[in-house]
């Protein structure tokens, strides 16, 4: 079974600085998809960014980018120019051939004004 590990339960960053959230996963599949979801205090799950495993190029969405290392099975999220509205739980997630989205345990991100 696929597993997703987020080793940082909590992170904090100064406003306007850059922070990187870590995620590793375990799979025997070669074709899969990876996601980062954000869950603010409103508890809504919001898709931040996605990456197809067959693509070498790292995905970027405005201030959010990923560092995808397929051989290392690592998928980190970089948030640049951190803003107060970025404060949330961030979940890394994996989707393979069974279409099931498997989540990591989450990282709580605090933004320091």
């Amino acid at each position: 079974a696929q597993t997703v590990t987020q080793s940082q339960p909590e992170m904090s960053v100064q406003e306007a600085e850059t922070v990187t959230l870590s995620c590793t996963y375990d799979t025997s599949e070669s074709d899969y998809y990876l996601f980062w979801y954000k869950q603010p205090p409103s508890r809504q799950m919001i898709l931040v960014i996605r990456q197809e495993a067959y693509k070498q190029q790292n995905a970027t969405e405005n201030r959010f980018s990923v560092n995808f290392q397929k051989a290392a099975k690592s998928f980190s999220l970089k948030i640049s120019d951190s803003q107060l509205g970025d404060a949330a739980m961030y979940f890394c997630a994996y989707k393979g051939g069974n279409e099931k989205l498997t989540f990591g345990t989450g990282t709580r991100l605090t933004i320091i004004p």
């Binding site: 998809y33 996601f35 979801y37 869950q39 409103s42 508890r43 809504q44 799950m45 898709l47 996605r50 197809e52 739980m89 979940f91 997630a93 989707k95 069974n98 279409e99 099931k100 989205l101 498997t102 989540f103 345990t105 989450g106």
Partner: protein, 114 residues
């Protein structure tokens, strides 16, 4: 226009009661899911339906029974509620076999069993 809507948003009930949570999506997706988020924020899939057919059924007590009257609706009925059922329940939808498509989530139902 809410893409995935769940009702109710909050549900407080006594042990032993039976309750239902409803979910509807207007995205035209063919697959819907129920996830449970526990007090430690861990999200775990419970069920998935594709075009009204059950395709994922994780190890969940028989007291939980999903029902999908059509591909736009997936309801969750819980019998004989227990304290441990207290959690946030999320409904989600997606297109199966659309590869990189993530799920679209509802806003969750916070169930508290007292």
């Amino acid at each position: 226009d809410t893409a995935v809507s769940q009702t109710p948003k909050y549900l407080v009930t006594q042990m032993g009661n039976d309750k239902s949570i409803k979910c509807e999506q207007n995205l035209g997706h063919d697959t819907m899911y129920w996830y449970k988020q526990d007090s430690k924020k861990f999200l775990k899939i419970m069920f998935s339906y594709n075009n009204k057919e059950l395709i994922i059924n994780e190890t969940v007590p028989n007291r939980f029974s999903p029902k999908s009257p059509d591909k736009a609706h997936l309801n969750l009925h819980i019998n004989s509620l227990e304290l441990g059922d207290s959690a946030v329940y999320f409904c989600a939808s997606s297109h199966l076999d659309r590869g990189s498509g993530g799920y679209t989530f509802g806003s969750g139902t916070r169930l508290t069993v007292v």
